[in-house]
């Protein structure tokens, strides 16, 4: 059960019981898409909590959204464009000061092509 004070805040099912469960394979797939390594100990908790969150989303399905345009911008505005001109100076050395590994102005990563 939810703590007192938070009950009745929404009309959906009791979210803390029997959530629709995502499978371990699904969660592994999402983790790979997100380029996130999860340790073995993290998986069960992630499956459990992610399942609860996704379950929570199901109440959206009943909302009447036929003929409603998705909201792409909070003010329903289009974005301003600017002229395609250089506005910044070259500050490579300053910026690369935060890089974990560089050489001759390049960023170093593990070898990609044999």
């Amino acid at each position: 059960m939810l703590p007192l004070g938070l009950r009745g805040l929404w009309s959906g099912p009791d979210l803390t019981e029997n959530p629709v469960s995502l499978s371990k394979e699904q969660v592994q797939h999402i983790a790979m898409l997100a380029r996130l390594q999860l340790e073995d100990g993290e998986f069960d908790d992630m499956i459990d909590k992610l399942s609860r969150i996704v379950d929570f989303f199901d109440q959206l399905q009943a909302a009447p959204t036929n003929d409603v345009l998705p909201m792409a911008h909070p003010l329903n505005m289009s974005q301003r464009l600017r002229a395609d001109v250089v506005t910044e100076s070259n500050e490579r050395d300053l910026i690369q000061g935060n890089a974990p590994s560089t050489e001759d102005g390049y960023y170093l990563v593990p070898k990609v092509i044999e």
Partner: protein, 491 residues
């Protein structure tokens, strides 16, 4: 007036500005007094990630010189702290994350730049939920911030360090950011004033991005007057943020004197359902009566889609977060895993090690709702429901000038109380999230007590109505003194 530097911390920004202008004390004296206050009272709250002592004293001396030369910016010599997600040149900017534990920003965000150009003195960077993802400050890599009203309690989040340091009279004002309530909820839980402006009102340039269609910078202060002063400096068009809006910035301080007589205040039926703590609800109702007593008209309104705000937000915000946080890859800045086997291993382990639990969960949620086969059912659906919620507001603003109600369903809760179930934590933002979804300005001011702890009153207005909600808040603060209450251990 003789000035005792032992009481400078008790003054508001406006009072300090008056004192500096009158020559009662210098910015150097003020800065030294507040640095001492950080030293004596800051660590018990874990409110700061970085204290910029040396730079602060140098800035204070500059401010004093400028004043002597008659070049006085609107914030000359006044102290400020920034939430640690505003990029600050040459200063650590961690976002409360291991990922950015060693990141020294090579540039200033527009907010930092404008406040600094106005003459303010930066005292430090405040603790926060990791990447602003949290409602209790417990997700910070640097440990939770404590609530000055009771250090066993959370100050709320994600701008918890900013809120706690203002509430504890350590600093008079702080910046914050609000994606789903991250300024208003901690302001409510610590008994201070916090405003999230209209989307696009303040530049997001140099703010570490969480959810780009929802993020907005704002301020946490002790009064609406101080919020008006600071917001006036921060707001306005910035060519470096393509979503910043070209609307003139009104004189917020000048607008504060507008009386509430005749103001039409909407009271949303759904805001007073059984989920609201009874004592909190009573405090909010008393505040509404006080405004009615000043001549405002209370009008009941119905917002049929507002209950869907939380699930809508927790689809949209993680989707944007999963995209924004893809930049943290261990290549150009931030944490990098040791001895990667290959590039994929570098990415996956860097991100697995660098991000905390809640951030990983949101990245996973966002990746899921955007993934093939689920996009239409979750992300597209949520963006449509977002439009319905926005329409509810537009319809409401045909009939009323502002909407008033509770900021949070309960008062401050214990650290550790809600960490087991993410959905329970998400519901803390039930009253604040809708303003972000619709891009509206919202503020929270203290309006009473429940169980001895502060309760917040939230005011939300139409786009670019900051002047109206600030004036309403200021007028309320002229007839009440909740905003002057200070936690006992921090007087």
């Amino acid at each position: 007036m003789a000035t005792n530097s032992n009481e400078l911390h008790t003054r508001t920004l406006a009072e300090l500005a008056g004192g500096l202008a009158a020559g009662d004390f210098s910015s150097r004296e003020l800065t030294e007094a507040l640095l001492a206050r950080i030293e004596s009272h800051g660590s018990s709250l874990n409110a700061f990630i970085t204290v910029t002592e040396e730079a602060a004293l140098a800035q204070a001396d500059d401010a004093d010189k400028q004043r002597a030369a008659g070049e006085v910016g609107p914030l000359n010599g006044l102290p400020i702290v920034h939430k640690d997600l505003f990029c600050t040149k040459g200063v650590l900017t961690t976002c409360g994350s291991r990922m950015l534990e060693n990141f020294v920003s090579p540039y200033d965000s527009t907010v930092v730049e404008r406040i600094s150009s106005a003459g303010a003195v930066l005292l430090g960077k405040t603790n926060m939920d990791e990447f602003a993802m949290g409602s209790s400050n417990e997700t910070s890599y640097f440990g939770p911030v404590k609530n000055p009203w009771d250090t066993k309690l959370s100050p709320g989040g994600s701008s918890g360090g900013s809120a706690a340091s203002v509430a504890a009279r350590i600093v008079p004002a702080a910046t914050g950011t609000d994606t789903g309530g991250s300024i208003r909820q901690p302001a409510a839980l610590t008994g201070i004033t916090g405003i999230k402006p209209t989307y696009g009102r303040v530049s997001r340039y140099g703010m570490v991005a969480f959810a780009s269609s929802l993020d907005q910078a704002g301020v946490l202060t002790r009064s609406a007057e101080d919020a008006a002063l600071l917001l006036g400096v921060m707001a306005g068009l910035d060519p470096r943020d393509s979503t910043s809006v070209d609307e003139p910035v009104p004189d917020y301080v000048g607008g504060l004197s507008k009386p509430v007589k005749g103001l039409k205040i909407g009271v949303v039926k759904q805001h007073f359902n059984e989920g609201l703590d009874e004592q909190c609800g009573n405090a909010v109702k008393d505040a509404l009566k006080a405004l009615e007593g000043e001549g405002a008209r209370l009008i009941k309104i119905d917002m049929p889609n507002i209950d869907l705000s939380v699930p809508t937000y927790y689809v949209v915000a993680p989707a944007e977060c999963s995209s924004n946080l893809s930049r943290f890859d261990g290549v150009r800045f931030g944490h990098r895993a040791d001895e990667p086997e290959d590039l994929l291993d570098l990415y996956c382990r860097t991100r697995g090690e660098g991000f905390g639990e809640e951030v990983k969960r949101r990245i996973m949620t966002g990746t899921y709702v955007l993934s093939a086969g689920y996009y239409d059912a979750y992300y597209l659906k949520a963006q449509k429901v977002r439009q319905l919620i926005s329409r509810d507001f537009m319809n409401a603003f045909e009939a009323v000038d502002v909407i008033a109600g509770p900021t949070a369903p309960t008062v401050a809760f214990a650290i550790g109380a809600k960490t087991d179930d993410p959905v329970t934590m998400y519901l803390n933002d039930i009253y604040t999230i809708s303003a972000n979804l619709a891009g509206l300005p919202g503020l929270s001011i203290p309006c009473g007590r429940a169980d001895g702890l502060p309760v917040g009153l939230q005011l939300v207005g139409p786009h670019f109505s900051e002047e109206t909600i600030l004036a309403c808040a200021h007028q309320y603060q002229q007839i009440t003194d909740w905003h002057q209450a200070c936690p006992e251990d921090f007087r």
